[in-house]
């Protein structure tokens, strides 16, 4: 990738090391989350919190005009109709009939206005909440939450990422927080390789091995710096936790009814898995659906994709309601930007950070609101624009984190967890 902009690591690392926060002995490698909090008391409180976050990420940039903010029968409105919703006077695209019935449970923002029209820099900017440049690489949202809140009492790794394609541990998402706050990616929803204990290794032997290992590790660590052994023990603890939860990854155990409701396509399967991961107690789960970058044939693309996203989102919301999880789970569905009003020669829409939409619900969020309005032809915001930083404040507040007070600690350098010039959007908060 061509490094076009200084969004990247490099300003950062220099500062990090200059300021003397050293990675190799990073404190707090255990399951606790207190390592870098400014106020340990707050950290402890948050670690006990049962709030969780589920992010549905439509990579490439879903069209706001074919979803949350349709402009039917206008110059740039495209061929599709809008439909009424359970919120009087609010219309969304005809491609989302199931979600339309649940609009009174959701909060929608129609005036997102962000900076970057490139994927390579736009995706990380949005997923980092686009904070001010402090000369450090900020963590992605999931890593930030993993750091600030830590795992829930389930002990499961705090940041799981369900995605098509390959899996693995994505340490770079953690930015300056250090590798271990990265995402554990479940490629195609599958568990990590080697998760299953082979038949040739009995449970008894496996247990004895781990006990003996701990014996050696304790002796070793007793007279050494903390970092290495904590890190090495941590990965075995996580591995073991994942093994204990193997069933989470077994699609065959899922009820057919659920699989029908979420859809048997990747996005449906992966979101259903995410629901289970959330239920099992993972702090932050991101589901990514790729391919939303509809530069060509935008309308057929959305006509094919959007109903699947509709199905997934509606099934998830219904489940959260049915299972009483709306009180502790924050759900956000978004992308790195929307799509241009003007329709290009390939009948597509291009990248559009200027006036796009996103949706949220769950804990701390006011239900049944639509915030912001765009111009009649969709070519700009009409009311107050919101940057992603304002959303980060809102979402942190929603899960009980005072984003104006809680800070990361980068060595001796305190860093705000969300853009310090921005504030939560009150209309979105319950």
């Amino acid at each position: 990738m061509n490094p076009q902009f200084c969004n990247s690591a490099e300003h950062g690392v220099s500062r990090r090391r200059v300021l003397g926060a050293i990675g190799g002995t990073t404190a707090g490698l255990g399951l606790g989350a207190l390592g870098g909090m400014v106020q340990p008391a707050v950290g402890e409180e948050l670690a006990k919190s049962d709030k969780q976050i589920l992010l549905l990420w439509l990579d490439g940039g879903m069209s706001q005009l074919e979803s949350w903010d349709p402009k039917p029968n206008t110059r740039f409105g495209g061929p599709l109709r809008s439909i009424s919703t359970s919120l009087p006077g609010v219309h969304i695209s005809e491609l989302m009939p199931k979600t339309a019935k649940l609009m009174h449970h959701l909060a929608t923002v129609r005036t997102m206005k962000t900076e970057d029209a490139n994927h390579s820099s736009g995706v990380p900017k949005i997923l980092r909440g686009h904070p001010k440049n402090r000369g450090v690489v900020y963590p992605f949202w999931g890593s930030a939450v993993a750091k600030v809140m830590g795992p829930t009492k389930s002990g499961l790794p705090p940041y799981l990422w369900v995605k098509p394609g390959s899996g693995g541990f994505i340490s770079k998402y953690a930015g300056f927080l250090g590798a271990k706050y990265g995402a554990l990616a479940l490629g195609d929803g599958k568990p990590p390789t080697n998760l299953v204990r082979p038949e040739t290794l009995s449970e008894q032997n496996a247990n004895e091995r781990r006990e003996l290992q701990q014996l050696f590790n304790q002796r070793y660590a007793a007279r050494r710096r903390k970092g290495s052994n904590e890190a090495n023990s941590y990965v075995y603890d996580v591995a073991e936790k994942l093994m204990q939860n193997q069933k989470l990854f077994d699609e065959s155990l899922l009820p057919d009814k659920d699989r029908e409701r979420y859809g048997k396509h990747d996005f449906g399967r992966h979101t259903l898995l995410a629901r289970n991961l959330i239920e099992a107690g993972v702090r932050f789960v991101q589901v990514t659906s790729y391919g939303w970058d509809t530069h060509g044939d935008n309308f057929n693309a959305h006509a094919s994709r959007m109903p699947k996203a509709d199905q997934v989102y509606a099934a998830l919301i219904e489940d959260l309601i049915d299972r009483g999880m709306m009180d502790n789970v924050l759900v956000v569905m978004m992308a790195e930007f929307g799509r241009t009003p003007r329709i290009n020669g390939s009948v597509g829409r291009d990248h559009w950070p200027n006036a796009w939409s996103l949706s949220m619900t769950g804990t701390g969020i006011k239900k049944g609101v639509v915030v912001g309005e765009t111009l009649a032809d969709g070519t700009d915001v009409k009311t107050e624009p919101y940057d992603i930083g304002a959303m980060f404040h809102t979402w942190y507040q929603a899960v009980g984190i005072d984003s104006k007070k809680v800070e990361f600690m980068n060595g001796t350098q305190p860093l705000p967890i969300a853009h310090d010039d921005m504030a939560p959007v009150k209309e979105l908060l319950a």
Binding site: F169, N194, F216, N217, R219, N232, V235
Partner: protein, 560 residues
Amino acid sequence: MRWLARLSLSVVLAAASEAASAEPLHAKIDQLIESQATGVEIAPSADDAEFLRRVSLDLAGRIPTVAEANAFLSDKAEDKRSVLIEKLLTGPDYPRRMQELFHVMLMERRGDNDEWLKFLRVCFEQNKPWHVMARAILNPDADNDELRGAAFFVTQRLVSEGAMAPVDVPGLTRDVGRLLAGVDLQCAQCHNHLTIPHYYQKDFQGLHMIFENVQTRRDVQFPAVSEKVMQAKKEFKSVFEQVALQTGPVVPGRGEVEIPVFEKGEEFAVAADPKTRKPGVPKFSPLNELATGLAAKENDIFTKNIVNRLWFVMMGRGLVEPLDLQHADNAPTHPELLNLLASEFVAHEFDIRWLLGELARTNTYQRSSMLPGEAEPPRESYAVAIEKRVSAEQLYWSVGIATGRFDAVRRSIRKGLVDAKKPEEEIKTIDEATLEELVAKSDELKTALADFKTNFGSGPKEPEVEFEPSVKGALYLMHESKIQKCLESGSATLVEDLLKTETDQAAIDHLFLRLLTRKPTDEERQQLASYLEENKERRSEALANVAWAMLTSTEFVVNH
């Protein structure tokens, strides 16, 4: 203002050390380190076992064998550490270890290439001076069979990664700065660096234009590059000011090079050959300017980059950290020491083997990694040896040696030859095969090596600096069948040898020496004895369990 204070201190020290200039470098290093480590408790020297393990991993890329451990631990000679260091530096493992180390350092797991690996191997076998290696990398000579593979550093970075990721010339530019000059100019691509006043956009653009002028050769199978004729300066703009600026080629640390003007038709020293598609050689070679200008005695950043990196390899921390951010505002922790290392390295003709030897001889290197007290002294005090990442390759060789998996494979290949009534000569080649040769003969060992790189190496383009264990690595050691095999008698010799021991105590002693290069503590001896006693009905399983726990323990997977 701490660094100012430090500066005045080091001036004093400089005067002192001049008086004692007859002293070997390692002694001067210790003086400089210890004089700055005030107010912290300094750990005692590592015992022979800890030292042996550490220096074997560092200079041979593997843990010592039982025989090597026994020989060293029972050796009563005063100078045995120094002798061992010399033996390792001139031993058969050293070129392989250095090849692995520099491959990962310079290519950052972007892929392998036989010609490139051969270049590295030859250089370390012949102990080629570092500036010769660096020049071979920056201006590869396709006519030099031994060194031509050095071009892979450039060609592999000029491979297109598909339509969405075109050839990354800025990335190559950045890596040349990072890895060969210790300066990361990335942010200076579009503007003068925001937080580093000495990184200028011109530096980036001037280096970048040298590589924009480079092409990967298609007329040969091995990695090779050619250059186009460079005639004009490059125009660029700062994203902030939008003022048009221009530069000629810039050599990091040296400045801009004038572009000579040739008559039209006179630009080439060797004309292109359309028949063989061999590209022409221009009279003016910016790569040559770069190679001779960057990799030169006079170029401070070039020398400091490599001594800082070698210091990091041995000591676990750079004098400048991050390793690629040398600049005035990111002062080294020990400026005097860095200067000393640089000047001595130049005085010794960029001799890597010599410098590694001197570093290994320091008390600083030979300190124990065990904390002398409750407090964790700052890493930059070097009061306690810093634990280092064990690379995927080091781990691979160590696991194979410790478990006797290599021995068992050798045995089975040998048996195959004997059964097939092959001549003595051929059987002898197996007996004498190095571990590398053995791996080349076994698909399973080859696959396992690839597995280790996947599970214990960092991803492509990510520098391997700190110990970063991963869940996938843990699961690999827990469940992968190739690892299980290492603990089964028949396919590895460890448990076989343990079952042959007559007492549990003997088995325990053997396990500790073979896997952890030390004797057990009394407590460990007791705990394990009772575990083995309780499980004597299933002794081989119990022994395998102990062995696994040792192999995966922090003590094994970290170089301490």
